[in-house]
Symmetry: C3
Subunit: 481 residues, 3 copies
Amino acid sequence: MNGAFSLRAPQLADDLFALTRSLPLVCPHGHVPVELLADSRDGVEWTDPAALFVTGDHYVLRMLYSLGVSPEALGMVGGDGGPVGPLAAPREVWRTFCTYRDAFAGTPTGYWVRRTLQSVFGLAGWPTPDRADETFDLLDERLRATSPLQLLREQRVQVIATTDEAAADLGPHRSLGSAGRAPIVLPTFRPDAVSDLSSPTWVQAVRELGAVCDRDITDLDGLLDALWERRTAFRRAGATASDHGMSVPATGRLTPHQARTLVERRLRGHVDVADAVRFSGHMLMEMAAMAAADGLVMQLHAGVHRDHHHRFVRRYGPATGSDIPVAVDFTSGLAPLLDEFGAKPSFRLVLFTLDESTYSRELAPLAGHYPAVRLGPPWWFLDSARAIRRYLDAVVETAGVANLAGFNDDTRNVATVAARHELWRSSVAAWTADAVADGLVEVGQAERLVTALAYGLAVDTYRLQEQVDGTAHTHKDDDGR
Amino acid sequence: MNGAFSLRAPQLADDLFALTRSLPLVCPHGHVPVELLADSRDGVEWTDPAALFVTGDHYVLRMLYSLGVSPEALGMVGGDGGPVGPLAAPREVWRTFCTYRDAFAGTPTGYWVRRTLQSVFGLAGWPTPDRADETFDLLDERLRATSPLQLLREQRVQVIATTDEAAADLGPHRSLGSAGRAPIVLPTFRPDAVSDLSSPTWVQAVRELGAVCDRDITDLDGLLDALWERRTAFRRAGATASDHGMSVPATGRLTPHQARTLVERRLRGHVDVADAVRFSGHMLMEMAAMAAADGLVMQLHAGVHRDHHHRFVRRYGPATGSDIPVAVDFTSGLAPLLDEFGAKPSFRLVLFTLDESTYSRELAPLAGHYPAVRLGPPWWFLDSARAIRRYLDAVVETAGVANLAGFNDDTRNVATVAARHELWRSSVAAWTADAVADGLVEVGQAERLVTALAYGLAVDTYRLQEQVDGTAHTHKDDDGR
Amino acid sequence: MNGAFSLRAPQLADDLFALTRSLPLVCPHGHVPVELLADSRDGVEWTDPAALFVTGDHYVLRMLYSLGVSPEALGMVGGDGGPVGPLAAPREVWRTFCTYRDAFAGTPTGYWVRRTLQSVFGLAGWPTPDRADETFDLLDERLRATSPLQLLREQRVQVIATTDEAAADLGPHRSLGSAGRAPIVLPTFRPDAVSDLSSPTWVQAVRELGAVCDRDITDLDGLLDALWERRTAFRRAGATASDHGMSVPATGRLTPHQARTLVERRLRGHVDVADAVRFSGHMLMEMAAMAAADGLVMQLHAGVHRDHHHRFVRRYGPATGSDIPVAVDFTSGLAPLLDEFGAKPSFRLVLFTLDESTYSRELAPLAGHYPAVRLGPPWWFLDSARAIRRYLDAVVETAGVANLAGFNDDTRNVATVAARHELWRSSVAAWTADAVADGLVEVGQAERLVTALAYGLAVDTYRLQEQVDGTAHTHKDDDGR
């Protein structure tokens, strides 16, 4: 990527981006399954080009589906385990994908795929349809000859965090930890399944949580004890953060009696949506109290209407690309939580949004006051070059750079990590060069700001200093760099 | 227009814009009255410069009114048919207009008027006050020597759609159709007057609809039958689309009993606002079902508080420039409709908004998932150079270009059609050149994207391929091009 | 500042900005305490560098607090009059401030402080920590040798308005007025304390208002009479405007009985929040009626959740930097007020927002229709270079330049006035140069637009023509310019 620098201050942007090239990658939030990383898979068939770039990527699936491609032609298995119609073979899926190059023009996916094919796999770019078979074979061979962990290593990933249910088996993380090779793989504690009383699988999730803690959870106290126990286990397995997703970011304490009663009612049957929202807000208070005690960084991802297209979800399963954002009110929603915990020295809250109108109106003012708050990078539908610029434009003026959380790549795809960081870093360099040109940033500050945004803030926000200090040496051993 | 290219990638922007100059104009949504086009009006006094550029243009009226010019000085007739005070003559209106050149600096109206005066009427630009009389005479003479249809032809309009009530007489469209000369003039089916139970003229509108269908409409079934019959008549007269306007874009089915009861109550008297909103949402479901059956493209224009200034509207009539947008929730509002129809092969929904915060938050994610959804171009208060850039920046990264609907000029003024397309096309060219410079679009894709945005997507979205194929020949006959 | 001109049209931007340098400053809205200006303070210790730039500036306090600096280390006295812990001496506060230079990179505060230190105090820029003591002494000496009024005079401030409670003693304004030296200091009538029934100090504020009017206020009529009397006193002391702040900008008339009853209930005890909001909306109608009669320009600052961090406010007092904006609905909220007063010739309403999504959606359309409405400049969290560009981009296309209110610096800090105007003016120049380059503004219009935005619109909006005409001469006497 060099295009981003044909801006007003091209030379400075170029120099600033060059500066970031020597920095390793920290990935404190993402969705690579730990199972993929845990086994030594060299030589094992762990994926294929279609699975890696199409069938496994909900950004790609949704775009092709929106343009009339059937889910089956993209290799999507039906929701109840079997495909709805005849399922395309990976090679066919890849052929289809190659014909849709223009559909991704101007999208971050288009950038990530093109740059990954170039820099990780050595292709000239997005393959034209007539080269679909040839490139499929080439990629397939490359994938067979490497492992997910090796791909991350080649991209200079220093630390990567996975996202894991409260009841997750932490064995893979522990064995990866004891192997002592880069990248360091950390779990992230995500207790949504047991916090959301409106989830149809809540009882099952609570049962699984009890099982992993060797106890029966029969009330709220049992649930909270189990969560605290699991937080401890996660921290021992290296976790430095928890993650919390919800539609409405409301917080506030119920009375102990109210909270206990809701758990009891849900264990016996159902509670209504309003009560579930209130309970979820109460659980966030409890999680914040635990975070203030154990120091796990609390991440909040709010404002998504999950599985908007019910008919589609019934056939193809949840989390298949029909989640649609909604407007969010952080100011009122977070007031109780921030009033109680926002100034606690060990508490840290990282906020993410899909509602850009909250950047300057709510998020930057909150981060610019509360010591605990940092702003997460542009998330999901906003992880693109233009949206990164809009984010920096909207939040830095009020929150400054030091209240930001740096970058998360948020990916499921181990091959595109570097391309995602590259888009962020080049956008940050271009933005900073413009700010210097506008007299808003002093020349002497530009290098420090870019380095912080590209690397240091993620390390600091997620409390990863010790981990990255430990890998400096390891990395040298691995790569001879 | 060439200024737009003093951007980062001026040469490419210039080349891309040049590319669009050879493309004819398709106008799938607008408000030119069909009566204006229907008669052969050469030599007939169909308008004058003040009526064309001032009194008939609510963008101009509202701006001049906001700056203290009285409606009477702008030629506005009072709401009940007579002027409130002495009414300025067209020449006086034009003189006033000429003194307000700076008021329109930086507005799209300023651009359209200036460019139209230059390229359609051969003036040097917006007239200075001392040249008001001279230019009035010159324009007046030009207007007497031409007709609305001729003006459209000279601007290379290939297809133009009008917007017509459900009960509209389609005779003018049919006679224009049989004339066989460019531009093709198509009706658009707009049933708002009979869908909105809160409208004071609902009973009258239903009566008129019944009359045109030769039946008495006495219940919901009668209403739906009449609407289906009219859709068929519209399609036979060339319509490819319907249009639906509302304040709150809520959708959802009432039970048949509830829906029938509301119609009966309204026929006898009134229903409250909440019930009217629910009925309107139910009617959108019915309209979507009909659209999935007959293939008329469904346009949704949502989020306007109509006639905000009651006192003004009582004196000068509705739709005179006091409509003010409101925040909109498409995610929840459209969920029922999209869940049911969003994946139907023949259904297509084009969404328009005046709430820019929905671009990246709701509209692009909806278009980037549902096969049926396309995003309409920036509408009304957003039809300007900067807002076009914001739109492309905000939606392409998630929805891609192929999920957009291209351009609609949405005009009432037959003279400014080309200037409106020119502003869109030059903005699109500049945006694309920047995206190439930023490495977000490949050089080889730029021409295809610009051509699609400037022309192809409008044809494809509104299912006008057959029509434009038919006119290619006609146009050549007409113009010798 | 010259960086802002490394834009697309650098030479024109440079020329346009140069044009503004000869214009004096008008400051129609701000928070400099009149007491600071009233006495002749030459040689008196009225402030010190830490108080001026840190302890007295809530923008700076909030940023440093958000980064973990304790309020005591910033010199903040506790809410009940005494410091919570040991209080840092001014010199220590200044040392701390000097170490946080990077924290303000990219923020307007960073720009204002740096430029003020340079152009008002002759420093090289933001001091490095090793020069903290030296610069403290230098600034301290400079401050002892000047007065607030002298600082304003050196910055070429022609007129400055303070913001004053309804019960304020107008003596300082009157004595400043009779002194006859620039700048002219005007009061602004702010009756919030007696309009908000939910305020815990409402009864006390009403009592004080009664006292200053020599009467007992025992009912609504008494309150309204006192307000009218005070408006008259304010006008006689030079006021041309009132100011009204609220969280929700709802307006609408209560019945006389309802309004009277609410006042009686509040005099005896409490009313609930919903009733307080309704009463506040009623009082806005009453204030608008008075404004239409006496011609005071009505300013509306809406959409802030005040004192969001209760625990902090309990310790350090209100208005100490924990106010957080919320989403606002001007379209519905202002409908009753604008329908009644929006076209009254002598009524003028200046609207401010912290919710940028309302710029294009609500505010520009309102200003582009109602003769009474002008849009205030970007406020508070939005008073930065990028946000100024976003504002102009979003509002000019619909409202034009002539419906804007020019600039307010809104400052409490007498030293940074010029730097704030400089940031606005350079941003306006750069924006206008870009608009010319884009073909949206004609070359010949650029100078007029920039002059209007930099100076003329503020004078005109706030009805200050007579005042600035009067000072032209005075200024010459003072400065020899």
